[in-house]
Amino acid sequence: MLDGLSNSLKDAMKKLAGKTVVDRAAVDELVKDLQRALLSADVNVKLVMELSKAIRSRSLDEDLPRGMNLREHVLRIVYQELVRLVWASTEVRLEPQIILMAGLQGSGKTTTTGKLARYFQKKGMKVGVICADTFRPGAYDQISTLCARVHVPCFGNAQEKDAIKITREGLVALKDQELIIVDTQGRHALEPDLIQEIIDLNELTKATHRWLVIDAALGQQASEQARRFHEAIGIDGVIITKMDGTAKGGGAMSAVAETKSGIAFIGSGETIEDLERFDPDGFISRLLGMGDMKALMEKAGEALKPEDVDVNALMKGKFTLRDMYKQLEALNKMGPLKQIMGMLPLGNMQLPEGVYDVTSTKMVRYRIIMDSMTPGELDDPALINSSRMQRIAHGAGATPDEVRELLKYYKMMQRTLKGMRGASGGKFNMQRLMKRFSGMQ
């Protein structure tokens, strides 16, 4: 998801590789590339200028630490400056509280409210939702449907036009719940009536948290809007939504800098489970192409059992259909492949586009097909000739073409993994990565 930005950054970094003395021209060039990279990720222009100034002067003025080359030195400074921007991670406590959702129209407040309810419910809290969006038609239907799917009580009234009144009644009706999320109507800073409404809602609910929901694609407006929301109700956390698209979230990052808050969560998918806790360290690591092990681990910890991934088989250089079966099963629990791959520290290695095209429905089909293979075939796919293919297809209720497609996909995965191992001499070491991966389980 942050591919574009990290790719251009990596290009910029590459230019510094091998240099051991501070080279003014090289640093200037890097700063310029960095600027472009950040700008094309929608980071606020003023912020970019401040940032690049700081990076430039620090890179040139600070002494090169012993044993560090220029690239590492500058990389460290870039990293530190970026981390500083998103440093404050919003604390999320599992205790009775009220969360007020705020944001622009269409930023994904209602969807996120549903996801949050699910998140806290999974953590074992009694959650209730109030629908204070009295404007958008269908808003109550939407949130009540989402809540009903996960059995979370939802208070609202599609007929009532007064958000304050609904919220007041909702607080009473849901008084037995430990955690209440108030979903509000979308609004922007130039609508004084609506800004006043959210100020009133904030006073009424005495909300513990006021979270601003920001679309990852939001551009230069992000800072300004965040500033006004912050002035109105004091934003203490930002949730970035739609991170499963191609937007890089630089606008949201600027909003965080503007409100001096932190990023609480990241929304990255359409189902109610697609919500991740934000980890600033990991965010920047991923931004710089260093990989975000932590987020992967957290997610893997929830979904995976140790026997799910046979790291050893991969490392032995043997990758059979059986391994792929396990992998697909594991990945299915963890989410879309691309999301997982984005979290792996693959450096600037390019994976073939086709790897990502396997949709979750296809994964299910593949597993069914593999279910009708013999153990021998799973261990040695080369055995599969056309008559075996017929049999497999027949057994799985599939066509031979589908079986062929599966084998094609298998070969692609195999090649990809081979490529990874081959690249171990370069930026990252697959062996070490996998060791860490298995060690942390």
Binding site: G4, R36, L39, S40, A41, D42, V45, L104, Q105, G106, S107, G108, T110, F135, R136, P137, G138, A139, Y140, D141, Q142, I143, T145, L146, H188, A189, L190, D215, A216, A217, L218, G219, Q220, Q221, A222, E224, Q225, T241, K242, D244, G245, T246, A247, K248, G250, G251, E270, K338, Y356, D357, T359, T361
Partner: protein, 354 residues
């Protein structure tokens, strides 16, 4: 919505003007007034310089004038305007014009200015303005007159709305329905967003309020089927326009984009309208490109233009897919929709202050 961009462009323009002006000064030392930091009177300096030598020295008069003119006829070099251009670049970026589009516009302006012979008496400002105007006009192209289009085409005219999540497709469908109804067309809406919870209710309420017929199935139904039924209904009831709403989807989700292709195959729309928000940043370019590539786009609607946005997304999208901008969504009411007229917008952006 272009207020911010306009202000910034004015500033960039005077900066460009004055840097060209500054180069104009040295050759004829007596020419311009010593201090003219603001460039509102750019045209005057060369003109005021002229009468001087003209009156004093009759001998070799023609020669003098000749060299004078040749010296004064300036060639704008790249160096002269570099500073000003990088200012303009920042300006565009601050207004959410995506990086590739910014690069293209800067390139255009540079091409328009560098190597230009500036004649005596030709205003620096008009040179700059013309160059900017050409660059913007090139990017924005012509508008799209929906009413005219519908009049000229066989009924029912089928319009399919696409875009990523949360850009305001459903609201836009309602607004355009209202707009067309006021123009005297009969309209039917197809509730093609069968995925998002509450979406069918949302469009249903809009349709009811506007008194527009709506065709809807259950949540989770095949959107192609819903929209096919809508088209059938329109044909058999002699309805003028079909507005087909769809679920928001990201361009990098292959299966959802395939679904959209299927919808397109089944309902055979006359127009595919791509909806995006005016506040989107650089991603506007990526997704516009992908949508245009997969299902095509004949026109663009930009929503949320009332959010104090600088209108950069309009420029980015137009630059990327070269499709006309049809409407701007500027508020929450049904009549908060404006037909987009590029020539007017460009004039508005660059007029004033001359």
């Amino acid at each position: 919505m272009f207020g911010g961009l306009r202000e910034k462009l004015q500033a960039a323009r005077s900066r460009l003007g004055s840097s060209i002006q500054a180069v104009a000064a040295p050759p004829g030392a007596q020419g311009p007034e010593p201090s003219s930091p603001q460039p509102p009177l750019p045209a005057e300096s060369p003109v005021t310089g002229e009468p001087g030598p003209d009156a004093k020295k009759p001998a070799g008069f023609v020669d003098k004038i000749k060299t004078f003119i040749i010296e004064r006829e300036l060639i704008v070099s790249e160096k002269d305007i570099d500073g000003a251009l990088s200012d303009l670049e920042i300006t565009l970026l601050e207004c959410d014009v995506a990086l590739p589009a910014t690069d293209a516009i800067i390139g255009q302006v540079r091409k328009g200015l560098v190597g230009k012979h500036r004649k005596i008496g030709e205003s620096v400002d008009s040179l700059v303005v013309n160059s900017l105007k050409t660059a913007l006009a090139e990017v924005l192209g012509n508008g799209f007159d929906l009413t005219e289009y519908i009049r000229q085409h066989e009924k029912p005219v089928k319009i399919l709305f696409t875009g990523v999540n949360g850009t305001g497709k459903t609201t836009t469908v309602a607004k355009i329905g209202y707009f067309l109804k006021n123009q005297g067309f009969s309209v039917v809406i197809g509730a093609g967003d069968t995925y998002r919870a509450g979406a069918i209710e949302q469009i249903g309420v809009h349709a009811e309020r506007l008194g527009i017929k709506i065709i809807q199935h259950q949540e989770g139904a095949d959107p192609s089927a819903v929209l096919f039924d809508t088209v059938q209904y329109a044909s058999s009831h002699k309805i003028d326009v079909v507005l087909a709403d769809t679920a928001g989807r990201f361009h990098n989700k292959a299966n959802l984009m395939n679904q959209l292709e299927k919808i397109k195959r089944v309902m055979k729309p006359d127009l595919v309208v791509y909806v995006d928000e005016a506040v989107a940043g650089n991603d506007a370019v990526t997704r516009a490109f992908e949508f245009d590539k997969t299902v095509g786009a004949d026109a663009v609607v930009l929503t949320k233009a009332d959010m104090d946005s600088r209108g950069g997304a309009a420029i980015s999208i137009a630059h990327t897919i070269g499709k006309p901008l049809m409407f701007l969504g500027v508020g929450q009411a049904y009549d908060d929709i404006l037909p987009f007229e590029p020539a007017k917008v460009i004039d508005e952006l660059l007029e004033g202050g001359i």
